[in-house]
Structure formats: C-alpha cells, structure tokens
C-alpha cells in the first residue's frame, strides 16, 4: 500500500477497518514528500511534528470507533489559508514571517473532522497567476513533465495531489485557480458557487470572486471534501445561509435525460486541436450515457478576460492596501517618515505581477477613470451573468474545455502578462457569474500532458454537477493515471 494509489475513501476504509493507522499513513505521506518534493517544490511549509500529533489523536478516535470519513486523512492546504501557529506566506515576501493567530473556518472544520494537516502548499503570489511562477517560494513543477508549469494559482495544491504527496488539498479559485491547475495536473478540482464555502481566514485577492474548493484524485473524494467545508459561517458575511445537500447520496444518479449545453464561444480557433479532440471524445461519452447535448451560446464570453482584469485588480488594489508594514508582515523602514516606510515596505515586499495588478486596479478606481473602467466592467459583468441565467433556463449543465492548451512550459509566458491572462478565458466566466464549475481529467496530449474537461453548473447546483462528473469518471479511466516520479 502506498499513498499515491489511495483516495480519501480508500484510506478511510482501511483506517476504519484498522488495516492501517493514521500514524502509518502520515509517515507515508511525509516520506513521499521527502522523496519527490525536491523535484516538484509543492510545499512551502511542512508541519511534520504537528501532523504526527494529529495522527496520534486520529488513531485514538479510530480505535474508539468515533472516526469520520476524514479522520486520519493527510491533507495539504494552499498557503493562502490562515493556520494558527503555522507560517502563512500567501506566496509573498511581504508575509514571509507571518504566523496567523487563528485558523480559517475551513481549516477549523477539517481539524474538527480529524484530518491531518501535512503542510502549506505553493501558489502564485497572492493567488495572482496562472502558472505558479510568481511565488516567493520559487516555481513549482508539473509532475507529468517537470519543464512545464503546474498551472496556477493553486499549483502546489494540484501537484501535491497528483504526485501522491497528500490524499487531497484545498485551493482557492478567483478566475480559474483551482480548475486550471487541476486540469494541468490530471486531478479533480471544484470551484463552488460564490457564498457556498466560508472565506473567513482566507487571505483575500478579489472579494467578489474568490471561492474556496477541493482538489482531489476523484469525484467521490471531491464530493466528500466539499461537504466537509461547505456551509454558512456567521464570520463571513458573504457566505449563504442555505442547507448543504448530501452530495454523496446523490452522486451515482447518472446523467440519463440531462441536458448538457455546449457553448459555441468555448470552441474557438485558439483551442488546441488535441484539447478539442479530448473534449469531443468526452461529449461522445456523455451521449453514450444518455445525456442530450445541446448547442448554446454565451455571447459575452469574449469580454470576460477584460471584465475580470478590471474587477479583480480593482478589488486587489483595495484588499492589498493592508500590507503596510504596521500590523503584520515584513517592514522596510526608509530614511523618511511614515509614507516612506509604506512605500519601501510595499516596493520590496511585493513581486512584479502583484505590483502590476495593484497598479492597474488603482488606475481603474482612480478619479476620472472609475466610470470608464471599473463601472463599465461591472456593467459588462451583468451581461455575462445574464448569459448564464438565460442558458441555464434551457440546459442543466455546460460542458467546455478548462484551458485552451495543456500546461505550457516554465518561462513561456512570463514576459507577456496579457498572453498569460488569456489562458484563463474559459474559467473566468463562472467566477464573474458566481456559479459553480469543476475540472475533471479527460485525456492526455501527445506529449503526455493531462487535459481537463470543465463542467459548469447552476448556482448552488454542485450536486447535479458532481453527478455528471461521477458518471464520466465511471465510464473512463483517465483519473486513475499517475505520473512517474
């Protein structure tokens, strides 16, 4: 038995049948990280000692027969989640020494359910990036080909799961940051509906778009982990007070009779032929399973990237104003007074991509430009949302590629931010519309790099979306492939 082959559900079964112990599983996870992370760089901070203590506590629960499905399961967290007593950098030099004094709600929930937190995972600085190349902890590598990016911004989370370092991980998704790295690493990633999961204690990038979600090896685990973190939290005023359905109970209901929309704007010229072939094949799988595939249109798709990069940067410029060297983080004192200290701190602490986004956002919000840029983008956001509302009156789900290409090479797009931004074209609209979406493995290109299929569900339609993902997974074996490390 080794961690790489094991899913949360397999591990939980073995733990509950006392065929193994949480200590043994934790040791395997840590040994796997020791033997593989030198090549991958998925981990920013390791919690070995704390993990063994948590495992020992989990074993007590397991022996007492009071364990749940996450008791003793080794999990990783993107380094954006506040973890009490554990350094949390958000991939930035400015938070290099930051040790939160409280846990994020999702972390608290996982701990209460007995999960073992193995460590904090690499990410683009402040979740700003599509390649994990902007991290202060250095680039993270794709386990399928280490010259390629893992995707971003939750690159470390996708890599740790794909490489079998942990059973599953949490990421965040503002414009595709869970789905795109999941697709590039051949694992499952889900962005819930805005408001479904608490963001209390999650370091903010763009508050009207950010959402927390699971990255797992299969759809069953994804349903399980989503159920573990979803639900209302009075400490997050944007979380929605609405019951969490039993995602696992409805998981195997299939897709017969479901209407799946194929938005024509997602099958464009820039789409890589190998990605198109894999997505076309996935459509055939769904036809074979009894779903009805319906051509639909989301006419404002082409405006999504422009809309997103105004709204997200504007919100980021405001959210990141808090990094001023006063209450937390690294301070760089200048020769001058307070303003000089702010400027020196922020200029030394933020990386180039973060500075670019703060600058664009500040410009879009500044006097004289607010209406032309920020307000205009918010109006276009309404048009994009209306596209989804209209289309979901006709169909149950949407099926699209996750990204126009498989994972690109490290360094390929770092000099051209706009090209990097355009790689998010298929994932951004779901964030702007606030709805749920997920990525599941649907094939490989000729170079052996994974390709992801995106399903987009109705707002709060995670259950129906997971059913469709599960049906595909049962009909295919893409999710069982593993990189050789």
């Amino acid at each position: 038995m080794s961690v790489p082959q094991l899913t949360i559900s397999d591990l939980a079964k073995q733990l509950q049948e006392q065929k193994t112990t949480a200590m043994a599983v934790t040791r395997q996870s840590i040994e796997r990280i020791n033997s593989t992370d030198g090549q991958l760089n998925a981990f920013v901070t390791r919690c070995d000692d704390a993990a063994f203590k948590e495992a020992a506590a989990a074993d007590v629960q397991l022996r007492a027969g009071s364990a749940g499905p996450l008791t003793g399961i080794p999990l990783g967290l993107k380094d954006i989640f506040s973890t009490k007593g554990v350094r949390t950098t958000c991939g930035s030099k400015i938070l290099d020494n930051y040790v939160p004094v409280y846990d994020a709600t999702v972390v608290e929930r996982l701990r209460k359910q007995g999960a073992v937190i193995i460590g904090k995972l690499n990410m683009d600085e402040f979740a700003m990036g599509s390649s994990n190349e902007t991290s202060s902890a250095g680039v993270c590598r794709n386990p399928w080909d280490r010259n390629h990016v893992p995707g971003g911004s939750s690159g470390g989370s996708a890599v740790a799961v794909a490489a079998g370092q942990v059973a599953a991980a949490l990421g965040t998704d503002t414009g595709g940051s869970i789905r795109q790295p999941a697709a590039h690493c051949g694992v499952v990633g889900l962005k819930p509906t805005y408001g479904r999961v608490s963001r209390y204690g999650v370091i903010a990038y763009a508050s009207s778009l950010d959402q927390v979600g699971p990255i797992t090896r299969n759809v069953e685990d994804c349903a399980l982990l989503l159920a573990a973190i979803a639900g209302y939290d009075p400490r997050d005023s944007t979380s929605v007070d609405r019951p969490v359905p039993d995602y696992q109970a409805s998981l195997n209901e299939g897709v017969a009779g479901k209407k799946i929309g194929l938005p024509r704007e997602y099958f464009i010229d820039g789409l890589d032929p190998e990605v198109k072939r894999a997505v076309d094949a996935a459509m055939e799988v769904y036809r074979g399973l009894g779903a009805e595939l319906v051509p639909v249109s989301l006419p404002h798709t082409d405006y999504s990237v422009a809309c997103y990069y105004l709204i997200a940067t504007a919100e980021a410029s405001s959210n990141l104003a808090r990094y001023d060297g006063v209450r937390f983080g690294v301070r760089h004192a200048g020769a001058g007074g307070l303003i000089d200290m702010y400027q020196q701190t922020r200029s030394a602490g933020f990386g180039d991509e973060v500075k670019r986004r703060i600058m664009l956002g500040t410009y879009a919000l500044s006097s004289g430009y607010y209406d032309a840029y920020y307000l205009k983008a918010q109006k276009v956001r309404t048009l994009i949302r209306q596209d989804f509302t209209r289309v979901f009156a006709q169909v149950d789900l949407l099926l699209t590629p996750v990204a126009p290409t498989a994972a690109f090479k490290i360094g390929e797009k770092t000099d051209d931010p706009l090209q990097m931004y355009l790689s998010d074209i298929f994932t951004i609209p779901a964030n702007l519309a606030g709805t749920c979406a997920m990525s599941i493995p649907c094939g490989f290109d000729a170079a052996g790099l994974p390709i992801g299929l995106q399903l987009i569900g109705k707002p709060f339609g995670e259950g129906e979306m997971l059913q469709a993902a599960r049906a595909f997974e049962q009909a295919t074996d893409w999710h069982t492939r593993q990189p050789s490390l």
């Binding site: 020494n97 930051y98 040790v99 004094v101 409280y102 509906t193 805005y194 408001g195 009207s208 778009l209 009075p234 005023s237 944007t238 929605v240 404002h300 405006y303 422009a306 990069y309 105004l310 410029s317 104003a321 001023d324 060297g325 006063v326 209450r327 937390f328 301070r331 004192a333 001058g336 007074g337 307070l338 303003i339 702010y342 400027q343 922020r346 200029s347 500075k355 670019r356 703060i358 600058m359 664009l360 410009y363 500044s366 307000l375 205009k376 983008a377 918010q378 109006k379 276009v380 956001r381 309404t382 048009l383 949302r385 931010p417 706009l418 964030n431 702007l432 519309a433 606030g434 707002p459």
Partner: protein
C-alpha cells in the same frame, strides 16, 4: 498611448509603491497594452445596465450584537514588526 510614464508615476504614489526608473518604463508599456486590450468593453452598449457588485443576490447580513471574546492585545501584536506596550509602533507622523 493610453497611459504615460507621468500617469503611472502618479498612480504609483496613490498605491504607495516606489518604482525604479526601469520599473516605471516596463510598467507603462505593460499597463498600456492591458488598457488597450480592455478597451474592447467599449464595443458593448451598457446604457441602462445595472452594474454587478455581487454575483449572488444577497441582502445585508445582520447578526445579534453580542459581546464575544476578542483575540487580545498580545495576539494582535504578535506579528507586528514593531510594538511598544499595547501599541503598534510606526515612524513619526507629525514633526
């Protein structure tokens, strides 16, 4: 050009960023390209469209005004680069 180095330097001041001359030149080029790209939004007529600030319909979130324990001064100051007694310490503001 949508934006000049002078504009970028002004915005940097608003954002409390000190840019080197090289950074200023590089950023001006990249912001100009981005502003050129986002111009495509002007192809759309948005007269009378209500802006979206929040994707999920949501009213104000109220809760009971109950006193609960706070983290306390020591924890609040635990990450401060400089503190004195129960205060954050900053460079002199008023000469």
């Amino acid at each position: 050009m949508k934006i000049t180095e002078k504009d970028v330097a002004y915005v940097a001041g608003l954002a409390r960023l000190a840019l080197s001359p090289d950074e200023l030149t590089d950023l001006t080029g990249k912001m100009d390209a981005m502003l050129g790209y986002v111009d495509k939004l002007n192809q759309l007529n948005t007269d009378g469209i209500v802006p979206t600030a929040h994707a999920v319909p949501m009213a104000n979130a109220f809760r009971d005004d109950q006193v609960v324990a706070s983290i306390g001064a020591a924890a609040a100051l635990a990450n401060a680069p400089l503190g004195v007694e129960d205060y954050f310490q900053v460079p002199r503001v008023i000469e």
